[in-house]
Symmetry: C2
Subunit: 237 residues, 2 copies
């Protein structure tokens, strides 16, 4: 997805535009938008789709942010991926082993796999487009894995903030990041506890690297933050 010049996390753009920005040919984007589907408002932190059931659906995020998550079987929860406006959650060939929740109030286009598949079959470029999109999602997943596996808790949190700034299109001179996450959600993404996330934030603020206003975050020292996070935007493609 190419970078957007100015678009906050909660922005509202049409699905077609979002797909075109993501690199899809306009006429194919139109096709997808016109696919039989319903557009749904999804409340944050409420059940939307549970894991473990057969789901024959396609989702496209029109606005807001969705999270895919998995449980470890003992109540611990890991958010494994985020989907921003224009991103999709595509059906696999098996029972979905992940649930879906919204991070912020989101508008989601829900289609049926039986309507989606024929369109893809009829337009080979779509398979290629979704292949590339899946590749991008996998690459982000790999960076998250590096994050959880090899970085300390401060770096993990800051890395997520840097990624969020990139993906939600913070402009470089505007230092305010509109942070849509609760500390618990940041914990679920970065593989730690909300208590520790809170301590990390307090530390960062004490060191003067960030300043906080409510949930939002001011990047006081962008370069130093990138450094402590070991952040390089390369993996975002």
């Amino acid at each position: 997805m190419s970078k957007r010049s100015r678009a906050a996390a909660g922005d509202r753009i049409g699905l077609r535009d979002a797909l075109v920005r993501a690199g899809l040919e306009p006429h194919l984007a139109t096709l997808l938008e016109e696919m039989p589907s319903k557009s749904v408002e999804v409340d944050p932190r409420r059940p939307f789709r549970e894991a473990g059931v057969q789901r024959n659906e396609v989702f496209f995020v029109e606005s807001g942010i969705l999270a895919k998550y998995k449980g470890d079987g003992a109540g611990r929860r890991q958010i494994i991926a985020l989907r921003f406006a224009g991103d999709g959650i595509l059906p696999g060939d098996k029972v979905a082993d992940y649930g879906i929740q919204a991070i912020v109030r989101s508008r989601v286009l829900v289609g049926q796999q039986r309507d989606f598949d024929p369109i893809v079959d009829a337009h080979p470029e779509l398979a290629r487009f979704f292949w590339k999109l899946t590749q991008r999602h996998a690459d982000i997943g790999y960076e998250w894995l590096l994050n959880c596996g090899r970085r300390d808790s401060t770096a993990r949190v800051v890395h997520l903030l840097c990624e969020l700034a990139e993906r939600s299109g913070l402009d470089p001179d505007n230092r305010r990041l509109i942070n849509p996450f609760t500390q618990q959600q940041i914990a679920d993404i970065t593989g730690q506890t909300s208590v520790n996330v809170n301590r990390v934030f307090a530390d960062l603020e004490r060191q003067g690297l960030i300043r906080r206003e409510g949930r939002d975050i001011m990047f006081e020292d962008w370069d130093e933050l990138r450094r402590v996070a070991g952040f390089s935007a390369a993996y975002l493609g």
Copy 2:
């Protein structure tokens, strides 16, 4: 990829067969195998491809195991994905931010992107096949993320062993797992130190859950191991 009835980690099967087993139409598999390419022996734990350079190559594993890895910029290393026989490492549109190494001595078919792309363009089913394959790889990556983020060190190690048993096709009544990994590599996959991996193994053996002969591992109590790992093979598709 469908399960193989009997095939150890180091087995030697033709690429074509491996691709067909992975679900590809025979004539398409033939096309890929006949693509201009060279077949290379890759030594384990030696540099094969470094991160950060433009790579216009496609790789298909003919035999053995390849690992994709990333560094955190401070010398710490995370293995982010494994590729078994029949798996491919497909080119992205950007500079590869990961390196490649072999886990065991492997035979790898190396092709050029400029030869690969036209074949895919000419055969739409290939785009769909690789899309599905990428989706599978992403799903495995997500499970690894859950592993690193939410499970303790014992569960992480055992989970990897269970996955290895599934992916390399251990048969259910044969309890011996031919383990190709050094403890350092297991540490690099599960996000911990080799010292701790060693302690985990010693614990598991002390508890009678596994027995070790050299590097290989006997599953003494398959059910209990799956339980401590929270392992369910669903994500492997």
